[in-house]
Structures are given as C-alpha cells and as structure tokens.
Point group: C2
Chain length 225, copies 2
C-alpha cells in the first residue's frame, strides 16, 4: 500500500459501509491507492478500525461503480484505467451530457440559472488565483447544478459515476496549457444557450465541451497521439 487511510469517524448516522466506501473511493481517486494495487480486506479493516464486514460491502459497491476489479477467491484490485476505458467513457458522456444540457435548457429554474452564473464567476476567480482545489470544487458544483436541472435522477447518477471514474487522472488535463480558460468559455457558452432556452444550441455546446475535454485528456496522457 502507498499511504494510509484515516480511521473512520462515527459521527455520522450513515452506515459504516457507506463511510468505508467513501473513504476507499477517495483514496483511489486521490492516488493513495495506485491502479493495479491489491486491496486486502483485513488490512483495510484494521487501518480504518472496523471489521471486515463493512469493508466487504463497501468493496462490492466500488466494484459496481467500476473503481475496483474483483476476481473471485483471488482478491480485489484497484481498477486500472486505460485509453480504451477513456474512449468508452467519453463516447457515452458526449451523448449523455448532450441530453442533460438539452433537458436543462427546457427545465432549469431562474434560481438555478443564477447559481450557474455565480459558479461561472467563481470559476474565473479561481483560475485567476490559480487555486487548483477551488477550481475543481467550483467545476464540480457547476456540473452538479446542471445535471440536477435535467430533472432526471438516473441520468445524474450515471454521469456522476462516469465522471468519477476519470477523476483520478483529470488533474492532468486541468493543468494542460490553456485548457482552463477554454473550459470557462465553453461553460459560458453552455449557460448562455441554456439561459436562452435554446435546446439545440445547449446540446451542441455540451457536445463540444465534452469532446474537447476528452481530446485534452488524451493529449495529456499520450502527447504523441
């Protein structure tokens, strides 16, 4: 194992398995656990100060979410993300984000539009200050509002899951030269078209945004291609 997990705090009402799941997921996303690394139940349980039961249940969930791979009787391994995976994920996201944007253009409330605008401003400030943590935070909040506005909970959760699966490597594309300002412009175009209730334009803006994100991600992984 690379680093170590923080012990689980029991302040929450949530079941332990949820806390354990979130903790392991976070560790995978932030790189504490490397791709391909084996995750052993007893070890994880000891580190977090819980028994194997909630750890097992957490791992089952992470498997469904695509963060780990389980081989029966052999163990659990942190999923290794490949070029193929990225291609698959963005093929789907291009399509789903387009859908979400179109629905949002039809269903968003004035309050939500205001929130989007605010996030847009915050995003600009975060970029100016080069505050990476803030950037990621605002970006996440921005998309959260957008997906919420689509009024389709399943769509929201499917996209979120796909987003999370590339989170561990998204940092690289974020730091790609010029990508951040480009991202902001794309976000602005998206908000504009949604604000004017233009479904077609919103869809196209979303498609462009996702396609560009994919290209940047690909370039940042393999500059040759």
């Amino acid at each position: 194992m690379a680093g170590h997990l923080q012990p689980i705090k029991l302040d929450s009402y949530k079941p332990l398995r949820e806390l354990v799941c979130e903790s392991i997921r976070q560790a995978i996303i932030d790189g504490t656990f490397s791709p391909g690394e084996r995750l052993m139940e007893i070890q994880l349980a000891d580190e977090m100060g819980v028994s194997r039961t909630p750890v097992r249940e957490a791992i089952r969930k992470l498997e469904l979410e695509g963060f780990v791979v389980m081989i029966p009787r052999r163990g659990t391994y942190v999923a290794d993300i490949s070029i193929r995976d990225i291609t698959e994920i963005y093929e789907i996201r291009t399509c789903l984000d387009e859908l979400a944007a179109g629905l949002a253009a039809e269903r968003i409330t004035p309050e939500e539009l205001e929130t989007l605008d605010r996030h847009l401003v915050e995003f600009g400030i975060a970029i100016a200050e080069n505050d990476m943590e803030k950037i990621v935070e605002v970006d996440t909040a921005f998309h959260e509002v957008l997906y919420m506005a689509s009024r389709n909970a399943r769509l929201h959760s499917i996209i979120n899951n796909l987003r999370e699966q590339v989170t561990s490597i998204r940092g690289r594309s974020m730091s790609y030269p010029g990508r951040l300002t480009e991202t902001m412009e794309e976000h602005r175009a998206l908000v504009d078209s949604i604000a004017s209730r233009d479904v077609e334009r919103a869809q196209s803006a979303a498609r462009v945004h996702i396609e560009n994100a994919e290209h940047t991600l690909m370039k940042s992984i393999n500059p040759v291609t």
Copy 2:
C-alpha cells in the same frame, strides 16, 4: 412474500452472493416479489438455504442496480416503478440506443450482421406461433448482439441495466395489439441501416424504436394518457 424462491444449487463455481443475487433479481422481474414488498434477510436466507452474509451482499448489488430500495436500519423493499421512472429510463435509453446503433453501424462484423438477420427471422416465426417466451428470448438475443457490436462494454452494461429495470412490466407492452409486428419492422429497419453502414439512419431507426416502445409501454400502463 408472494411465492417462494428455489433453494440455491451449488453446482456453479460462482460465489454464492452471485447466485443469490440472480435468484432475487429474477424473482423481482417475474413478479414473485411485488413492488413495495419488504425483503427480509433472514427469511430470504432461510428460503435459499444460505446464511445472511451472501444475501446481504446480493441486496447491496441489487440496490445499485435499482431493483430494491434500502432504508438504513429500516429494511429493504422491492423498488416500485413509477411513470416518472419510465420517463427517466426512456429519456436515457433513447439517447444511448441511438449511440449504440450508430457505433454498431461503424463496427459490426459480417458474422454479427448474419446473426442479427437470423434473429430477425426467428422473431418472425415466434410471432407467428405466438410463443411469448420465445419472443422475449429472441428479442433479448437480438439486442445483445447489437449492443455487443457497439464495442463499448460500459454502454452495453448501462443499457442492459436500464432494460432490466423495466423488464417486470415490459410483458404488458409486448401484448399490446399490433406492437409485435411493429417491433419487427423497426428491428428490420435498424438492421438494414446498420448493414448499409448508414450511421445517421441507424441512429434514427434506433430512436424511433425506443420512442415507440416507450409510447406503447405508457399506453399499456395508463390507457387514458
């Protein structure tokens, strides 16, 4: 509980949790468990002749798949599918099936095309014989080949999951007057456009197919609308 589950057979190499999961899922799909019905771990375990542990893990998986709803410390209930759910699911499927059809038009092999054709013929025979079981079987096989041909495993599994979530009520739309022959015509149009590698037409055929399926399903649930 309505009926009862068959005891788990241990002939397979699969972990018990998988067998238990499939058994419960099947029972939900075929109506052995009704929507809203409470699922109790001890009872399920006893009926299948296993302990609570694999049952719990199976339930966790079914929750992720959307077949059951868990309320912490309160229990697990068979998910109740609503008009809202159907709308959500078909909004997504319209988009994903369009994607899958487009990709299939680009990536399908001649062998797969042949298989699709064969399924098309079988479907016609099954309709002529009014063999409902066969119809469902061939329909499933048909779509399976199609999604496989998209060469996107995630897309395949997301669509399959969405399909399964309405399986329990799909029987009704199947028996809607005239829907079966309509379905076959739509399938044929889809195969034709894929065979001629026409991405646009394949997408449009898929969209039409899903939209019609939704409309029929809605009508069969609520004839007034």
